[in-house]
Amino acid sequence: MKALVLNGIGDRAQHLDRIGERIVQELRSLRWKTENLILRDIEIAPCMGCFGCWVQTPGVCLIDDAAREVTRKIIGSDLIVYLTPITFGGYSSELKKALDRSIGLISPFFTKINGEVHHRKRYAQAPKLLGVGVAHEPDEESARIFKTLIGRNAINMHNSADAACIVYEDQSATEIEEVVQAGLSELGVRS
């Protein structure tokens, strides 16, 4: 099984990379082939909102940069992990620059899910999604927004399962491991 960690930690918070490393270690210990993508080191232009990935070169973004490969890796994985400092409740710009460029993974056509309009699938199977939000301090509202966002994304991108967890900057490696393990168990990745 393959996992991809999308590490959206920014330049100024590189000390938080240790969280990404723990996630990778945990997955590898479960014998998952795991790749850790440090997005801040990857140049990805912003989405231009042209929908070319739907109606011009279906499934492929018109901008020829590293985002194409990231997108290929996302759909080629059985599990993706969004690792991000919780930023006003949502994702960091580093994580989001990759996600905005990945909508070619779904179809432009509309369908209804739970009475609400979304897009149809493009691929038969999308990976499971684990959101790992890093918080500076406990903040219920931000945590609520983050968890809701992961759930909403999972509907839109047709992730086959989703879970969100929050870790704190000052937590020990063991504490972080426990939180991540609980998230992985929720997804059925870990028994």
Binding site: P46, G49, K97, D100, F110, E141, N156
Partner: protein, 224 residues
């Protein structure tokens, strides 16, 4: 007229070129109305401004000088476009003008305005983190039915939007928050939902045909 306390900044969050986005059409309408009420204004396109040091500096200067910031953006993957988040990260590290306020306008491609809820919450948290007073947000569904044209030129369908924006302007110039009635009007479907998705699905086929890929719309180029 440029009286103290009456400076509004429009931040356009769509990455599209000037004149092309729904975000700009909605935001510009508000700005023009506020100018007519004696406010001075500035408009900044976020994606373009982040491309250079000068642009970034101008963005931050613009924010610092404003009494009211209006952020108008498209919903991207249930949240805000990456460049807008980047701008928020930069702005929150800065000291805004005392008593400065933030109002937002969100527009989404799906018909239901409720898709914008998470993004609205994010904007509110951003205001809080940046010392800006949150004065509310308007959320619109069916953005795909609109264009970058001046709002007044987009036909009868936009009547509710114009009414909502007028109500918001009235409140904002008086130092009040965006009224509930404006939020309600803005969230009203422009056309029936089934019609929007039918026209939308037809539009994707038409566009694909124009590009000679009508039969490739369902391609899976990254299939394992």
């Amino acid at each position: 007229m440029n009286s103290e306390g009456n400076r509004v900044l429009l931040l356009v969050g769509s990455p599209k070129a000037p004149g092309k986005s729904v975000s700009e059409a909605l935001g510009s309408y508000v700005i023009e109305k506020m100018e007519a009420r004696g406010w001075s204004s500035e408009s900044i396109f976020i994606r373009a401004s982040l491309q250079s040091d000068e642009g970034r500096a101008a963005l931050l200067e613009g924010v610092k000088a404003s009494d009211l910031i209006i952020l108008s953006f498209p919903l991207y993957v249930d949240s805000l476009p990456a460049p807008v988040i980047r701008a928020m990260e930069l702005i929150s590290a800065l000291c805004c003008k005392k008593n400065a306020r933030l109002a937002v306008i969100a527009n989404s491609g799906f018909p239901e305005a409720q898709h914008n809820k998470v993004a609205m919450s994010i904007c509110q948290r951003f205001a809080h983190a940046s010392g800006l007073e949150w004065v509310g947000g308007l959320a619109l569904g069916m953005g795909g039915a609109l264009s970058g044209q001046r709002l007044e030129e987009q036909g009868g369908m936009v009547g509710k939007i114009i009414k909502a924006l007028d109500l918001a302007v009235d409140a904002l110039v008086n130092g009040e928050s965006v009224p509930d009635e404006a939020i309600r009007l803005m969230a009203k479907p422009l056309i029936p939902g089934w019609m929007y998705t039918t026209i939308g699905n037809f539009g994707w086929r038409r566009e694909a045909k124009r590009h000679g890929v009508r039969k490739k719309l369902g391609d899976r180029p990254y299939q394992r």
